[in-house]
């Protein structure tokens, strides 16, 4: 009698252990699969460098009025970047778009650089003509064209930045996705599909898209909960 009880207890323990192991394994698998893709959801951001475009547009504008090597545009320009926001929902949608606010800031920065360059050219030309006046350069410009230099350049000067539409075409996304531990399949609204590797480390999301690797950073200002899939970015 006692040996039968002992045998039943041992079997019970073994079964319980097996259930536990299977349960843990299942949980682990589910965690790896489902948990990883849960980390995908939320808001991400990346910086799009448009400095080259701005530089070339400035160069084209000032080319006829400057001597070779008279000005190094990069001394005035710095880096011009526009922010792009990517929203990934748990419902399986991905939307990326340009931040209007960052686009406006980048545009202001580009025109600041151009304003400084043109101011330098004006002062240089006035100096090389040995003209001395009590008026400041800003006052001279205002008397000449009726507005300040910034307004003049925005009205009559060159377009410096790519348009938002151009940036949206290049960098925007409106798609659905399915993700597992390492792979994400992105189905664009146009119908084409991309199978990409992705990785998340130290708050960075790296998606290896067909045009090259794209790096996003977690937008810490937003909650990591999923947002509604059809909400405007």
């Amino acid at each position: 009698m006692r040996s039968r009880k002992k045998k039943r207890s041992a079997i019970l323990v073994i079964v319980l252990l097996i259930i536990l192991i299977i349960g843990m394994a299942t949980a682990g698998v589910l965690l790896c699969l489902y948990g990883k893709s849960q980390m995908l959801t939320g808001e991400w951001e990346r910086k799009i460098d448009v400095t080259d475009t701005v530089r070339e547009n400035i160069r084209g504008y000032i080319a006829e009025s400057t001597l070779i090597d008279e000005i190094n545009i990069d001394d005035y320009l710095g880096t011009i970047e526009v922010e792009s926001n990517l929203v990934i929902t748990k419902e399986g949608s991905m939307k990326e778009g340009i931040s209007y606010e960052s686009y406006y800031d980048a545009n202001e920065k580009a025109y600041d650089a151009l304003e400084n360059i043109v101011t330098y050219l004006l002062e240089s030309r006035i100096k090389s003509n040995y003209i001395e006046t009590d008026m400041t350069t800003d006052e001279l410009i205002k008397e000449t064209v009726g507005t300040d230099l910034e307004q003049y350049l925005k009205a009559h000067g060159p377009v410096l930045m790519p348009t938002i539409e151009e940036l949206e075409t290049l960098y925007g996304t409106d798609a659905s996705y399915i993700a597992d531990r390492e792979k994400i399949t992105i189905s664009n609204t146009g119908g084409d599909e991309e199978n990409c590797d992705y990785a998340i480390t130290n708050g960075m999301l790296v998606i290896d898209r067909k045009d090259g690797g794209v790096i996003y950073h977690k937008n810490e200002n937003k909650q990591q909960e999923a947002v509604e899939g059809d909400e405007d970015i």
Partner: protein
Amino acid sequence: MKKFIAVCLIFTLILGLFVIPVDSYASQTKETVKVNVDGTEYDVKVLNHDYENNMYISLNDMAYALKDTKRAYEVEWTTKDGQTCIVLKEGSVSKEDQDEDTSDKEDEKEDDDQDNKVNYTRKRFLINIGGNDYSFYMIPVSDKDNKDCYVNLGEFALATNMDVSCYDNKVYINSKGQFDFNKYDLLGSGIPYMADSCLVGDATTGVIYYSENADEIVSIASTTKLMTYLIIREAILDGRLSESDTVTFSEEASEISKSSNGVIRVEPGQTAYITDVIKGMLICSSNECSLALAEKLCGSEEAFVELMNQKAVSIGLSGDVKFYNPHGLPVYEDDVLTTKKQNHLTANDMFKLASYILDKHPEITDITSIKKTKLESFSNFEAVNTNILLYNVPGCVGLKTGTTDKAQSCLVSAYETEDNAGNTHYIVTVVYGAENSQTQSYTSLVLMRYGIQRFNTITLGLVPDSGKPQEIPDDLEGLIGAVVNTARRNAK
């Protein structure tokens, strides 16, 4: 006996090396002058080069004197294109100068009293002021403790456009002011007497701002080549020559190239593109190129010279004009009683000739404004422009230098500017018979700056206001021109 003669010759040769001046090696007198900067006095070391009051000031000492002003600068020695270049970095002051103790200057003064004769070499090199490269004769001085450079006070004042004046053996600087020619009586200052004849005026309107001995007949050396260019250019435009032509160098041209008057060595029968030959003539004053062009057009030098003299008459130059060759070298007549003849005219004539060329063929400045270029036809020979004003007057666009023993140092220069209506004007200076190239460039610099100031403050007043509302320019060049004109209208 032969040995004795050989020893004497060697001794004479060695002696000559110490006596013959090399590159303006002359004596200077050291002294210290008081420089008053906005009311504060400083001791500044000075070298009087060759004669009294030919003042070269210490850049280091001037940096210290200007340290508390907006004109403060730091002296930096560097190299540019393989040559020494001093950079005056505006807005900063050498820490060394900031720590300088005035008691050291007292000691220096005592040293000056004891031994104030020195022999430093004066030479031409680049100095960058306000982002512009100037080419001045300067006197570098270095000892184990210090490296300094002395620059002519007048050239320093003009390059920095600073209000500098001298009286009572002191230098006065108003750091907030600009160099003002209205304070100077050019004739009384003696500037015009540094040359045999000189002139400055607006070549576009014909207004002459200043002239001295401008009716005097002078030998013109290589400034001749302006007339040579005019004849050739008109031949290209009317089809007698083409810009795609090649030029063949004759034996005579080759001989010139191999002589002491040669610039670009060529062999008989050698060919070159006509565009390179013209550049060689105007930029580095190649005599062989001038002759080759003349022979290309007319078959002979004599026929070309006839065209030159005819052209002089047709454009209204005086009867004092005579050309003997297309390059400006002396000519020896083939006779028993030989004479040395040189192309000659007056400063007034050259002003008219320059005005004619700038009016009819302003594209000449595309060539004459080039400081340095490689001539492909001559195995990439580097042609260096002999006109120093291209460095010393930003905006200078030419035109031609000239030097012979009789003509001495000559320069015809042009500065491009605009009036209120946007019309181009050329301020032209003509300097003939300066005793050396430093005097030539200094006199030309002073006259040119004088002419520019006169144009800015007086000549512009002659341009009537059109009464039309000003259009908003829609390109950068238009904006710059319009703002510069606004600045002119509101000039001090």
